[in-house]
Structure formats: structure tokens, C-alpha cells
Amino acid sequence: MELYSIESGHGKRRLKYLHFLPRTRGVGMGLRFYITKRILYAFILLFFIIALNFIIFRLMPGDPIAMLLNPFEKTSIEDKIRQEEELKKQWGLNEPLHVQFAMYVRNLFTWNFGKSIVSRKPVSQEMLYKIPYTLTLLGTTTILAVIIGVLWGAYTAQKRGSLFDSFSVTSSLVFYSLPVFWLGLVFILIFFVNLGWLPHAHAFPTEWALGWPQPYKMTSSVSGGTLNILVSLNPGEILEFIGGYVSHAFLPILTLTIFQYGGFLLLTRAVMMETLTEDYVITARAKGLEERTVLFKHALKNASLPLITSAAISFGFILSGAIITETVFTWPGLGGWIWDAINLRNYTVLMAIFYVIAICVIVANLMADLLYGIIDPRIKYG
């Protein structure tokens, strides 16, 4: 696992040529300077990514105007050319590149991603439908993986050198390096094909209406929000409703959790092994504190800095992290959408998803940096 730390000795040298930034004095000002700089970097990064996004999709094969024209329409060649010109004008494709780029940036900031080439619906609207699924899946998974990884890792560090330790480390190494789609396939093979206990695709039973989250029984009779529907159901229906979602989400969550916890376990173990040899831990033990108190209240608290950073960063990858798992389980989230969009050359969708993912990652990285700066008093702001 990559440990995103802020290297010491960074700031002093930089200050020499970053004189255009506000010079600061004193500790409090140092923090402000640090935050300003990080935010500035985040914006520069965002600009780079927008530019890259703009360039890459102009390199991809296919002509968007050709996709909008009807090839079976019987018109003369002159008419076709005129039609093409009109479309180009309509979409702004006849402008020079830098104007196109400016238009693109303006649209991104107004959250206007255009229409999906396939469904002809606004991309932002479709995205709002997909995001809850990905957030549910990846949010649950990341929280589970962090909890399991950190707790297990702390115990492992305490019992280092034992059989439990080597078992934990080896198993998390194995799960960490497995191809995640294969893990999913094996679970489908076991739980769907052989045992028939769990479904293998979609987020809810296919009989249900295509709404989120509305079971088919209630769609016609009750109008209003999700909560109203849930409240008006009888207990049996509530159970069925929850069971439908849980049974569909179980295998993807299991797969992703098994895939992700190993990284947190190894990181926690490494950090804890250093912390547990510190003098204050020995002091705490000498005071006669319970081993659990020593481990979680004294050691883990102090070792939690890199863990928080790492968790923050994995929350940043929450939207992009599950293309493969979502494809395996036909999960209707963003990852599966990326895959569909690539297959169908749905460029508007791809560009929008890339942009949103990049923002997510940049914000998470910024948060991690800021958290690090605020929590750790030892840091040199650089």
C-alpha cells in the first residue's frame, strides 16, 4: 500500500522560488500557508486533469457528428454536408480548439455534461441515478474493510512472530493480490451455481420496478418519497424489501471487502509494530493497564495517522474502484456504467465520469493532507 506522507524537508527549499505565495510567520500562519498551498495545488491538478480529459477523448476513435447523422436517410451529398455543418455549429465543433476547451470547462463547472449518446438523457441526471448504488456498495465495503483491517492488524502486531501473525499476513497478502473478478466468479460459482442461495446479478430482484428503491407492490398506490413507502409497508413486506437488497448486495460486498481489508491490515500491522516498541507503551504496561487498553487506547491512537490518510484516500477512489466488481455482478452503479460506456463509445458519459472521479480523488487527497496537517502537531508544514 502506498503511504502518502508529506516528506520532511520539503518546505524550506520550496519557499525560495514560491515567493509569489503569501509569506507566513509563526506556527499558526504556517498552517494557513500549508492549507493555502495544498488547495492551490488541488486546483492546478484539477486543471491538468480537465485538460487531459479533453485531449484523450479527442484521440479516441469515432466521429461524434457521424453518430448523430442518420446514415439511412436519403439525401443528396450537398444536403448531408450542410446538415453536418449545422450540427457542428450547434455543438460548437466548428470553433477553434481553445474556444472548445473554454466551452468545455464552462460546462463542467455548471455541471452540464451534455446528453448520453445512447439513452439521449442528460448525463448528470443519469449519474444521479447511478451514484447511490456505487456509494452504497463501496461505502459499506470500505467501512467494513477499514474496521476489519485495523482491528485485525492491531491484534496481529501485538502477537507478532506467532502462528496467528503469519497466518494473518499470508492470508491478507493472498487476498490482496487475487484478481478481484475471479474472486467474484468463484463466489458466484459457489453461492449461485452450486448452492443456489444467492442471486448473481443486479441490485434487486428483476420483478421489482426499475426505481430506486421501490418494490413493485407499492409503486402505484403510494406517491411520495422513499421513506413513506417503507413506512407504509407491512412487516413481512419490509423484510422482503430489505432481504431483496441485502441478498443482492451480499456477494459484491463480500468480494470487495475480502479484496480490500488486506491492505489496511498490513499497513496497521506495520505502523503498530513500530508504535508498540515505543517507551510510553512500556510505561502503560508497567502501570498495569489491561492489554486491550494499551493496544487500542495508547498504541492505536498514536498509530492512526497514516491509517486515517490511507482511509481518506481510499474513500477518494470510492467511485472508480469497482469497475470490475460491478461488471462481474452487473451492479447498476458507476463502475458498470463506465464499462458499458466504453463498449458503446458513449463519450459524453465517459468524460463526465472521469471528471467526477478525478474531483472525488482530488478532494479526498486534499482532505487527507489537511487532516494530516491539522492532527499531527509534529508535521513541518511544507
Binding site: 468463484v186 472508480s320 472521479i357
Partner: protein
């Protein structure tokens, strides 16, 4: 001088290597990783010795000539008890071949059989013979002379075979005469009449102008009169039956290939040629749908379609294939049914397979008439529902061979990607760390930008743009995988450059290149070795994931592609196809990680002290 130095150096470095190995082998996890990697290296180097089969077909160019039935199970599942998941009603491959012990029966003695069996029947498809019919001068025609060449064999399995096929080659030669024959001429829609290369309005006008006359060009249907019918033919195209004079054999031949139970019903097997793709050679008759009929008798099917009039040098191959064939038996034609399930039974039984050759000697002639039919590859391949150690895929290709050869691709991708990524990361890290200032700032900001990008979607888009060749994948992954390592190297170099030995080197006047090469680089090499080992698994897994998503290199079969083809053909229930490739990917990836961790523990003494 130089020579002496190397002479002394070699034993020294060998000693160092053995010393390192001694320490390394004390690390159990590292040893396990090294053992697994060595095993895979061995498999990759000696794959041709481990399996005789090719991953993409019987030979690399031919996907359509597989080894066994499609979706075959492993052979050992037959012998496993059902409780443990065994499938007792599987069958295995059986080849019925050879030429020596055929039963020959004939209705008239005026024939000769020449037999030869050259080469290995298993591989060359030997089993060749020539049957010759001859009527001397002055003899009256013999009518139909039937010669049947059969072979009985036992199919000893408690289950249906997967399919059967035979690449029988027929070729005829003999005395000939001129005869009118019917042939079909296809006129395309809007043909070009005036020779300007395109069929357009001017061609239509030619017909309209010639209406009522007997213009040769405009008379498309050849009835000697240009009418509205010709205009219709020009517009929509048609298939016309026409007569032409052609040379035919004096004694035509009719051939049946048949298969059936001994003492039970036998079935004639007709090959099926899909129209537009495979045409029978011109010596053989095919009807408008492209079917080649080799009929039972002249009454069975219309005479002109039922006869074969092979001419010299032309041959008909691929005579039977249970997946493409049509059956004709005493109860009529069976088209929709699987020929295998119609002919074979689920219990062991004796079957007869053979060929019936009918010389139809009706033409009265005073001359000597003679016809010879050459038959080659007269073998029957029955493909069982099980094959090899791991079964077969959707084309009947051996999965074990794919697994064995897949190790080459995974190692190739993993190692090359790691070398490329680590080299780039090393150069950038050294430059950023040692040169500092603007170089550092620019390179590290660039690295940050790349680190923020969602890697897998970006990879997919780039692969989509550049094409899914494995070399492209290696380049892309190498150029996108250096950032973490360059940061690591940079932070190490930052502390190294402040050390006294660098200062001392500077004091004696060493240049930047010299200091980096002789003083900094050796100190970061331990990081290089560790990162080389820990980068490999990512590359292997990413390749597998991309292949599974469908970005496959069509010329090579990798583990990821095996899983993709399984998914693609919806054969996930064939666990012997799903489990092994994934296990291999996991084993190889984990072993490299174990190796990297072990190297890290040994080369970075900080960790060792902590233990």
C-alpha cells in the same frame, strides 16, 4: 590490468551471492515465493514438453480443427465417485482408423481395391485406398455395382460422445464422355451490361431500348426475346437453371458414408455446406442451398443433384461432421436433431462405420469404361465429452495447454512491466531527489497528477485507443506505474545527498553523474529489487482484469483470456475452467509479493531490528 580485476571480482561476487542466498533461504515466506516463481519459470520454459497441444487449435493457424468435443470435462472426473463431484457418464476420444482390417463386400466382382496405409493414422489421417471399376470391351453394362467397405468398432463408454467428424477426401478419375448438364447461374441485382464497371441507369436503358428484339446482351434469361421479365431480372437478380455441355465420367459414382449400430439402423451422413462460405468443388453437384448431396439412389433425390461426377484432380474434403451434417436414414431426413444423440446410445455398444461406393454402369458403350475413386483420410474421429487434464473450451481446445502456455504471458507481462516502471521511476526519482529545485518540483507535480488519475478507467481508454496487444499493455502500464517508486527513491536520495560520503566525493571534484552512479545508485538498489518484485503482481492482475473485460490479444491465450472466454460462453458451471487460471494468477502474484517482502526484510535492516 582490467582482466585481472574481473578475475578477482567474479569469485567475490559469487561469494556475495551465496552469502545472500544463505540469508534469504532462512526466510520461510521468501523461500516459498521463490519456489513458486521457479516452478512457474520452469513451466514457462518447458511448456512444449509438458503438453503437446497448442493453445489456439490443433496448429496455431487453425481454430476450426480442435482436439476434442466442445466444453469437455477433465478425464479424471470419470473415475471420481459421484459424491466427490465425479461424472461417470463421460466419454473419451476414440479414433477409428487404419486401412488393413476393413470388411469388403461387393455385388459384382468387376472391381479392384488398392490399399495403402502410410504414416501415423492418429496424426496424418492416413487410411487411403483406391477402388477401381472396369468393364472390358464388348461386355454388357453391369448396372449398379455396390461395394461397401466397413469397419466395426466398440464404443465402450456409458455416455454419448460429444461429436464425430472425418476429413475424408474423395477424388475420381476415369474414362469420360460429353454430356449436357444443368448448372445454376446467379445473376446479381443490377448487373453491369455495357462494361463501364457499374450497374446504373444506362444499363437499364439498354434493356428498355432492346425491348421486343432478341438482343444478346439484354436477353438476361436467355429465352431469345427481351421482355419485361428481363427488366425484372436486371432489377432484382435471380438464379437461372441453364444447360451446358461438359465432360462426365462414363461410370458415375455415388458415395454414402454411414454410421450405425451393428445389426441396427444405419445412417447416411451428408455434409452441409453453408451457402456463400464453402462451395463444393465443381466436380460435385450442390443444390441451390449449397448442400452437397451424396444420395442413396437416383430415386432419393433429383437426379442432377444426386450424382457426383468428379473430374480429374478435384476432390471433396471434410465429408462428415456431426455438428454440421445432415442425417438420412430409413425413417427419413433428420435435420434439427443432434446426429450424435440419434446414432449413439448411452450404453456401451458395437457400431459399424463405413463407406458404400456405387458405380452406376448404365451407358452402353463398346469401349473399355473405367472409373477409379481415390479415398484418403478414411478415418472417423469420435470426440468424447472429456479430454485431457482440464477439459476443453468452446472450440474443443485443450485447457491444460492454455494454462501451461499462459504462464509465459503472465511472466512476460509482469516482469517487463516491472522493469520498465522501475527504470522510469528510478531515473525520475534520482533526478528529482538529487537535482532538486525546479526539476524536483516539476517531476513531483507531474507524478502527483498521474497518481490522482483513476488508473483502471484510464488504462481501459488507452488500450481502447492503442489496441489490445500485450506489448501495448506493457508500455502503458510501465509508463503509468512509476510514480510511487519515484517518490520513494526521491525521499531516499534526499537523505543520501546530505551524507558525508557525498560531501567527500564532491570535495575531491566528482561530477554529478559520477556521484549519482557510484555513490547514490548503489544505495537505492535495495529499493529497486524490492519494488521490482512487488510491482509484478499488479501488472499480472491488471492484464487478467483487462482480458476478462474483453480487451484480449487475439494472437495469444493468457489466463485472463481463458476466464474471458469462459464468461463469454456462459460456461461458469464448468469449474475446471474457472478455478485453475485464477489460482495460477493468484499463486504467481502472491509469490512475487512474498519475495518482495522477504527482500525488504533482508535488505532494509530497519525492519530486522524491530523483530
Amino acid at each position: 590490468m582490467m582482466k585481472m580485476a574481473t578475475k578477482r571480482k567474479l569469485p567475490y561476487s559469487l561469494k556475495r551471492l551465496f552469502g545472500f542466498l544463505h540469508i534469504f533461504l532462512r526466510n520461510r515466506r521468501g523461500t516459498l515465493g521463490l519456489a513458486i516463481i521457479s516452478a512457474f519459470l520452469f513451466i514457462a520454459f518447458f511448456s512444449p514438453l509438458l503438453t503437446p497441444y497448442d493453445t489456439l487449435g490443433r496448429d496455431a493457424t487453425d481454430v476450426k480443427s480442435p482436439l476434442s468435443a466442445t466444453f469437455g470435462a477433465p478425464v479424471w472426473l470419470r473415475y471420481l465417485p459421484s459424491v466427490l463431484g465425479g461424472i461417470p457418464d463421460l466419454s473419451e476420444n476414440q479414433f477409428v482408423n487404419g486401412t488393413l482390417d476393413w470388411n469388403v463386400s461387393a455385388s459384382h466382382p468387376s472391381y479392384t481395391i488398392y490399399e495403402s496405409s502410410i504414416g501415423d493414422p492418429q496424426t496424418d489421417g492416413a487410411g487411403s485406398l483406391a477402388v477401381s471399376f472396369r468393364r472390358e470391351k464388348g461386355e454388357i453394362p453391369h448396372g449398379e455395382v455396390r461395394i461397401s467397405i466397413t469397419k466395426e468398432f466398440e464404443f465402450p463408454y456409458n455416455g454419448f460422445p460429444g461429436r464425430f467428424m472425418g476429413d475424408i477426401v474423395l477424388c475420381a478419375n476415369g474414362t469420360t464422355h460429353e454430356e449436357d448438364e444443368l448448372y445454376y447461374e446467379e445473376i446479381p441485382a443490377k448487373p453491369d451490361l455495357n462494361g463501364d464497371g457499374v450497374g446504373n441507369e444506362t444499363d437499364k436503358k439498354i434493356i428498355e431500348d432492346a425491348m421486343g428484339s432478341s438482343d444478346g446482351i439484354a436477353d438476361l434469361d436467355g429465352d431469345g426475346d427481351v421482355t419485361k421479365l428481363d427488366l425484372g431480372i436486371w432489377l432484382y437478380g435471380t438464379t437461372l437453371a441453364k444447360y451446358r455441355s461438359d465432360r462426365h465420367l462414363d461410370v458415375p459414382i455415388e458415395v454414402h458414408v454411414f454410421l450405425g449400430h451393428v445389426g441396427g439402423e444405419t445412417w447416411n451422413i451428408y455434409p452441409y455446406y453453408s451457402p456463400g462460405r464453402y462451395y463444393a468443388p465443381s466436380g460435385f453437384k450442390s443444390d441451390a442451398t449449397g448442400k452437397v448431396w451424396i444420395a442413396k439412389s437416383t430415386q432419393d433425390v433429383p437426379a442432377l443433384k444426386g450424382w457426383i461426377y468428379p473430374q480429374y484432380g478435384e476432390s471433396l474434403t471434410s465429408l462428415i461432421n456431426s455438428e454440421l451434417g445432415v442425417l438420412r436414414g430409413d425413417r427419413g431426413v433428420f435435420k434439427g436433431e443432434d446426429p450424435v444423440r440419434t446414432i449413439f446410445t448411452e450404453t456401451p455398444g458395437k457400431y459399424v462405420w463405413g463407406i458404400e461406393i456405387i458405380f452406376v454402369d448404365n451407358e452402353s458403350s463398346d469401349e473399355i469404361v473405367e472409373t477409379t475413386l481415390y479415398i484418403d483420410n478414411f478415418n472417423l474421429e469420435i470426440h468424447g465429452t472429456s479430454f485431457g487434464l482440464l477439459g476443453t473450451d468452446q472450440y474443443g481446445r485443450d485447457l491444460f495447454a492454455q494454462l501451461v502456455y499462459g504462464s509465459r504471458i503472465s511472466l512476460y507481462i509482469g516482469i517487463l512491466t516491472a522493469v520498465l516502471g522501475v527504470t522510469i521511476g528510478l531515473v525520475i526519482g534520482l533526478a528529482a531527489g538529487y537535482l532538486g529545485r525546479f526539476v524536483d518540483e516539476i517531476l513531483m507535480r507531474f507524478a502527483d497528477t498521474l497518481l490522482v488519475l483513476p488508473m483502471l478507467p484510464l488504462l481501459i481508454v488507452l488500450i481502447y485507443v492503442l489496441g489490445a496487444r500485450i506489448e501495448n499493455l506493457i508500455l502503458i502500464m510501465g509508463f503509468l506505474g512509476w510514480m510511487g517508486f519515484s517518490r520513494l527513491v526521491r525521499s531516499q536520495v534526499l537523505s543520501l545527498r546530505e551524507r558525508p560520503f557525498v560531501e567527500a566525493a564532491k570535495a575531491v571534484g566528482s561530477g554529478t553523474t559520477h556521484i549519482i552512479r557510484r555513490h547514490i545508485l548503489p544505495n537505492v538498489m535495495s529499493l529497486v529489487y524490492v519494488t521490482l518484485a512487488t510491482t509484478v503482481p499488479g501488472a499480472i492482475t491488471v492484464e487478467a482484469s483487462l482480458a476478462w473485460l474483453g480487451f484480449i490479444d487475439p494472437t495469444r491465450m493468457s489466463w485472463g483470456r481463458m476466464l474471458y472466454e469462459n464468461q463469454y460462453t456462459a460456461a461458469i458451471a464448468n469449474w475446471w475452467w474457472v478455478i485453475p487460471p485464477g489460482l495460477c494468477i493468484a499463486a504467481l502474484a502472491v509469490s512475487f509479493i512474498l519475495l518482495g517482502f522477504a527482500l525488504d526484510e533482508i535488505l532494509n535492516p530497519r525492519l530486522r531490528r524491530r523483530r
